[in-house]
């Protein structure tokens, strides 16, 4: 897959770049960063394992039809609220999230509701939070970040309503 390959090249290229800078600062800097990074990796592996293997089971018990049903046609602020909940509850990665948004748009869902859905999905999608954010970030930060993000899907929907786009 070329997209995956590109990501790997960019990723390992960045690692090599910052590694080179560290090496120029001296061997000890390089060695201690390598040790630090490997420890972090060992530390994070069990969490990622729980996240990756576990989220498959969580996704399997949430029927996608329910989420599509929530994103009904143009329904005002109640529709925005259900869109936000649906966005957070959508299992899976970007293909699933955006496909549900596209279906809702085609099925007559209001653009502000779909904007709220996509923004809420970006901010809260539980699978990404469980799989990536909690393992890597301090838990206190993750909950704080999620809590202060709550108003923003609503604000995005309000802006969309105000400017009448998309």
């Amino acid at each position: 897959m070329s997209a995956a390959l590109l990501i790997d090249i960019l990723l390992w290229g960045s690692v090599a770049g910052v590694g080179f800078i560290a090496w120029r600062r001296g061997r000890t800097v390089l060695v201690s960063s390598l040790r630090e990074g490997s420890l972090e990796f060992a530390n994070i592996m069990p969490r990622i394992a729980i996240g990756v293997v576990g989220s498959g089971y969580i996704a399997a018990v949430i029927p996608q039809e329910i989420i599509t049903g929530w994103l009904g046609p143009d329904s005002g602020w109640l529709g925005v609220l259900t869109a936000v909940i649906a966005g957070a509850a959508t299992p899976g990665g970007p293909v699933v999230g955006f496909s549900i948004g596209a279906v809702a748009l085609k099925a007559g869902g209001g653009p502000p509701q779909v904007i709220a859905y996509v923004v809420a999905w970006a901010l809260f999608a539980f699978q990404r939070v469980i799989l990536w954010e909690i393992p890597f970030m301090p838990a206190r930060f993750v909950w704080f970040r999620a809590a202060v993000s709550v108003p923003f899907p609503f604000l995005a929907a309000a802006i969309a309503m105000a400017i009448g786009k998309p």
Binding site: L11, E36, G37, E40, G54, A59, Q64, G92, V148, A156
Partner: protein, 200 residues
């Protein structure tokens, strides 16, 4: 029937869009991970009741192979985070992204989040590394929110082809102010929740 669409694309996508450096200082398994583990076990039991052992094993093998594929990227993300934490001067980070960095700090966080290459395996490790070397919650929130909302990676790879150009562009335009607002709101709340600084 909801099985196939759920299991297949989602994990692969997550894999494709993750990347970032690691944070330090963390208990190996905290309450968040324990709650997730409980949730996972409950869901696995539900899958077992619905689909039997075959269903459970099918998901397990699929996700284990996904896990194997992700590991090298996680390692890269961890190394990236460790190098960044090591080579970034801490005083400079706390000046540019710390609690007193003002609007400029939020804008730097937003810009950084928007240009970060890769997926979650880069964004979260980098954010965690910045947090450990002196960035405050506000600037880090701006970075994370900017990465999820206006980062070009996901928009180009997934949103444009699926949602169409017009929707995607307007969605991004509408999202532009959100990272700075989220970071500012985060700082406002943080100062009130933790008036004496971070609890340890």
């Amino acid at each position: 029937m909801s099985d196939a669409p759920l299991k297949d694309p989602p994990p692969a996508d997550d894999a494709a869009e993750a990347e970032s450096p690691p944070g330090r200082v963390r208990k190996p398994i905290g309450w968040s991970m324990i709650s997730i583990l409980v949730l996972v076990l409950v869901c696995a039991a539900l899958v077992y009741r619905r689909d039997g052992a075959d269903g459970v094993i099918e998901i397990l093998t699929h996700d284990l192979s996904l896990f194997g594929g992700i590991l090298p990227r996680v390692l890269a993300g961890c190394l990236l985070g460790a190098f960044i934490a090591e080579i970034l001067p801490h005083e400079k980070v706390s000046r540019s992204l710390g609690p007193k960095s003002g609007l400029k700090g939020l804008l730097i966080g937003t810009a950084f989040g928007a240009i970060l290459p890769g997926g979650p395996f880069t964004a979260y490790p980098v954010a965690a590394a910045l947090l450990t070397v002196g960035a405050d919650f506000g600037a880090t929130i701006a970075l994370v929110v900017s990465w999820t909302l206006i980062g070009y990676g996901r928009a180009v790879a997934w949103e444009l082809p699926i949602m169409g150009t017009e929707f995607t562009l307007w969605r991004i335009v509408i999202s532009l102010p959100l990272p700075v607002l989220a970071g500012a709101f985060g700082r406002f709340v943080y100062a009130r929740v933790y008036p004496n600084g971070a609890p340890e």
